[in-house]
Symmetry: C2
Subunit: 321 residues, 2 copies
């Protein structure tokens, strides 16, 4: 399924570069390779899964619906638009302004709901039934996982071209769609690579689930790393994560902000906090990682100006900016 | 020479992506493709020419010397380091702090001079003779032009993959090394493409030279777009520019800053002002450009924080950030 999804993505998704910098290597104490999915269409890897799912819809599909804090929304809207299908997006009212605005600008119809008082599933089901729309789940969807897995195929090829066959692969992890897709791709294509999840403090449901062997839920629901703030691993993704990934890594919001600044200065990449946690783990928790090289996903770059400014204000602990 | 340089660059230079965004297309009124050379090693295209020149040195070369306001310095230092050669860089005292610091951190020996009172050529010649170093000119060097030309080969291939065979190609232009290299590459590989220079106001020596048919010199010597502030086109580059390029475009510093913000928001790229002028021309001077698609180089991303902040403060005239 991953290979088939990668074929459908050919000519539509970007083959994002695998970047590096001697400055980052020095901080991490090993070579660091950064899979720059923030350069993907709509600024995150989410386009891949969305395109994979939408190009697998039954004939006669009338449109799609998605629940999303933002990146999945943009990916689904853009992919649907390329196929000439309408996209209805159910989004929390407190999602970053840039993500709401971009989804609308890409042609999506956005319906906002209150995270604390409304049940988005009930709301979505009613709208889907009323209009005959197909639901594209953000991670618990086999074709979405297959599409995200194309990142893993590219990592295997690009790392090999850099002479790297063996490495830990750190993946920014929310519900686990990207992580499980990459893990499945690498299991076949680069079995010497070990996929590890990275989450922000307070939202380490996957790390705890991996550690205890059973699904653990986060008590809190919103945070700086909004793109990967999910209550628990998915029904489809959890068995894959449990079989192939771990141990999970956890970084602070402050680590994520510092990693954003370093990606900015050293790689010329704009990252959002949730897209920077894997790089943060590589840079600031080197003692928890092994091997001469580490590969990280930089999974998204849709950051509000205020958050970026707070990252700059905090600084990066790096002398030469 | 360009093909041979491209072969020597294989596995060393990054094949940078050709990016686009529907938001930029809408502003420009046509498709805009951005060759993201800010993602090249050391944050600008300069590594290509430096590597091309350094891998062409006679056997027994003892090291290299370069004059540079910064990007060429970093490219030469990094390329020399990869070949195990020392690099001595003569840099103006008022070069951006980040460029001086990065050149030193990459292992270069930096000698600062005063632009207004010292003759860098006399200084450099003495140091080169004393230590037996080979001079790598920033643009008036055939192998440097050949290396930069590899950008043109990639543009031809990547544009074709996007279905674009015919387009104006806007290049951020200082001394003309990148522009003439790209123009020579496209003359052979994509003859339907027309290369046009883009310069900042007050430093439009190439545009004026192309318009009048003879070399015109700029009166001023420093400006916001420091990477491309050169007094006149080069001796080697001018005949190539005259034969293949034009008419030249000119943008304001304010246009360059707005383009930086849009590249940041829409492409997730960090650009420096001199690396953003071509995008600025495409976005804000569409009436001076023809065709359904335009290709621009985003040639560097080594920007001081203060300049980036002033760009953010100025804004981008774009509603959704």
């Amino acid at each position: 399924m991953i290979s088939a999804a990668a074929q459908r993505l050919e000519g539509y998704a970007r083959r994002t570069p695998l970047l590096s910098s001697p400055f980052l290597d020095e901080i991490a104490g090993r070579r660091v390779f950064v899979k720059a999915e923030c350069l993907q269409h709509t600024g995150s890897f989410k386009f891949r899964g969305a395109w994979s799912a939408i190009t697998s819809l039954p004939k006669g599909a009338r449109g799609v619906i998605a629940f999303s804090s933002g990146n999945h929304a943009q990916g689904v809207t853009y992919a649907a638009g390329l196929r000439g299908l309408p996209a209805l997006i159910i989004m929390p009212r407190d999602a970053p302004a840039i993500k709401i605005a971009n989804t609308r600008a890409l042609g999506g119809e956005v319906v906002l709901y209150d995270r604390t008082r409304e049940d988005r599933d009930v709301l979505g089901a009613a709208l889907a039934a009323e209009r005959g729309l197909e639901l594209i789940q953000p991670f618990d969807h086999a074709q979405v996982i297959a599409g995200q897995g194309s990142v893993g195929l590219e990592i295997a090829e690009q790392a090999r071209a850099e002479g790297v066959d063996e490495a830990q692969v750190l993946v920014c992890c929310g519900g686990g769609g990207l992580t499980s897709g990459i893990a499945l791709a690498l299991e076949r294509q680069a079995p010497q690579m070990q996929v590890r999840t990275v989450e922000p403090e307070g939202f380490d449901d996957v790390a705890q689930s991996l550690a205890t062997g059973q699904v653990v839920e986060n008590p809190t629901r919103s945070g700086l790393c909004d793109a990967i703030v999910t209550p628990r691993p998915g029904k489809l993704t959890w068995p894959i994560l449990q079989r192939l990934c771990g141990p999970g890594l956890v970084v602070s919001d402050s680590d994520a902000l510092r990693a954003m600044v370093l990606a900015h200065n050293r790689l010329k990449l704009v990252l959002e906090p949730g897209g920077a946690v894997a790089l943060a783990a590589a840079l600031f928790h080197p003692g928890q990682i092994s091997g001469a090289a580490v590969i990280v996903t930089a999974s998204g770059g849709n950051v509000d100006r205020a958050v970026l400014q707070s990252a700059f204000a905090q600084g990066d602990g790096d002398a030469a900016r």
